[in-house]
Symmetry: C2
Subunit: 303 residues, 2 copies
Amino acid sequence: MELKTLKTFQAIVNTGSFNRAAEELNYAQSTITMQIQKLEAELGMSLLERGKQQVSLTEAGRLLYEQSLRIVKDMELLESRLGELTAGEAGNLRLGATDPTASYRLPALLREFMTMHPGIDISVDIGSTPALTERLLKGELDMILCSVPEMGKGLHYEPLFTEKFVLLLPEDHPLAAEPQVTASQLREHRLLITAAGCPYRKKLESVLQESAGPPLNTMEIGSMSALKYYVQSGLGMALVPESTLTPLPIGTIGKRLQDGPVDMSCGIACRTADYPLQLAALSLYQFLKSELAEQPNVQTVNY
Amino acid sequence: MELKTLKTFQAIVNTGSFNRAAEELNYAQSTITMQIQKLEAELGMSLLERGKQQVSLTEAGRLLYEQSLRIVKDMELLESRLGELTAGEAGNLRLGATDPTASYRLPALLREFMTMHPGIDISVDIGSTPALTERLLKGELDMILCSVPEMGKGLHYEPLFTEKFVLLLPEDHPLAAEPQVTASQLREHRLLITAAGCPYRKKLESVLQESAGPPLNTMEIGSMSALKYYVQSGLGMALVPESTLTPLPIGTIGKRLQDGPVDMSCGIACRTADYPLQLAALSLYQFLKSELAEQPNVQTVNY
DNA sequence: GCTATGATTCAATTATGTTGAACTGTAAGG
DNA sequence: CCTTACAGTTCAACATAATTGAATCATAGC
């Protein structure tokens, strides 16, 4: 099976006629016949039902048509990407990320990437998952790192890693001495949490509610990164992403919850509309994916 | 760019040598050289760095290699599927589904599919989303229809439609007279719900909690399909999937909630490991997708 | 220097794709 | 019933492109 044969076949299906396909592809009519005959002989089955007025697909033909569409399209995409390479890989990429990822994981990664690809300019926006998703769909961002987005909106999403939450305590906190801390014990002490918009807050609340009812004694702090300074000052305890704790702030202790481990999935998303990405975007996508992915690949979700 | 050229190129990269590639593909050494030269000329860039001891890839070569892998694999898969077609499409498919989908949407669809494909045997299992997901991953199921599964487990998932929930009331229920019913009003009456395991129950609870706090007056009924009979008997009201209400049971009234529309996404999943599906599975997958999808659905892409 | 290895060049050969012109079969119009 | 128009097929001739062996070049290891 040659590629040009597939293209010819597709042209026949699209135009519904050998003649028009020949015209479209600048072939003689007979060439079309020959190509299809050769293809049918090779596969040992007929692909096109030659009706009086127009051709129609057999079962096999339909299968071939549908599957070959993708192959031909991939091929064209590959060619265009190779073209972009000669033109010098360049572009502006607008990346979005949720906060702990943006502050703790991205900086080093982006430095590495931008050294490897000096032609690519990158900007980073920070926001909540729903806000980022919306901006991505509006076309204001090209790619976002976030937790599982809302569904059904033309998004391509792939989970990359899981952010584990650790209970951060002042050294002199009553719970610091306990060998094991469970979710139910959290109700008895002041818990520092982020403002309501943050996706972490939402997840955190739902997990806490499941295992121990809503926490009673809370204090809202504006940002995730500020939380640990409040813990350090002894104002209370907080559940914070493990990744933000290297190094552990002086005077604090990190503890994993025993019963209800709190964690949330984090992944990468872009618009399905342009999912077969342009070269610059593809490079960044693959780079982030390979650097951030925890497990040998994973799950694809198309919304 | 011809397919055989790509295969040759891949063989060189895999073996690290023009000679070994020639051997592997039963070509003369010179043929390999010519093919690559032609390819490089066509693309106007060099793909392979001819080192003293072994060849290495240029930037463009790496791109070509990675992308072409998929194209060649897709091509081979297509050929094998066409082969299966001649051999007579057949197989046993084990499908899983969550309850309202399995009971209300699937029967007619499966009858149609099985008439079209008499060689394919299908079994249907019913369960909760997490249970189905687990069985899918264990290899006990081939494909499942469910709500958004837990992430990061080697699943391929595509959302298909949204199940809207409608408040079903006995005709003589106090709320039946109200022109508009809001989520907060639900607290004042007995709400029939399914057992805790059911994914619908979970979603339902979380939505109700968001908008109106936990419902106080509930009654648990074993299955989704039983719910409406209890409503019919005047035991209380229930939020049930809209799809289960054709026809509306006699003596009941369906109302959409005004403030918090309750709905949940439903999609199709299979293992990523064998995502490029065998023919029988592919047929069913595409059939279910096209029959159940609400929105113009986007094609799945794997990198 | 010599030999083994791996890649390239080139003219000769082979295979393959392409084409026009003639041919078949069908549908529509008088 | 014949004609015209259209669609696809056949086939021999032609054009193009792929493949090859033998010779050549370049390098690494001895």
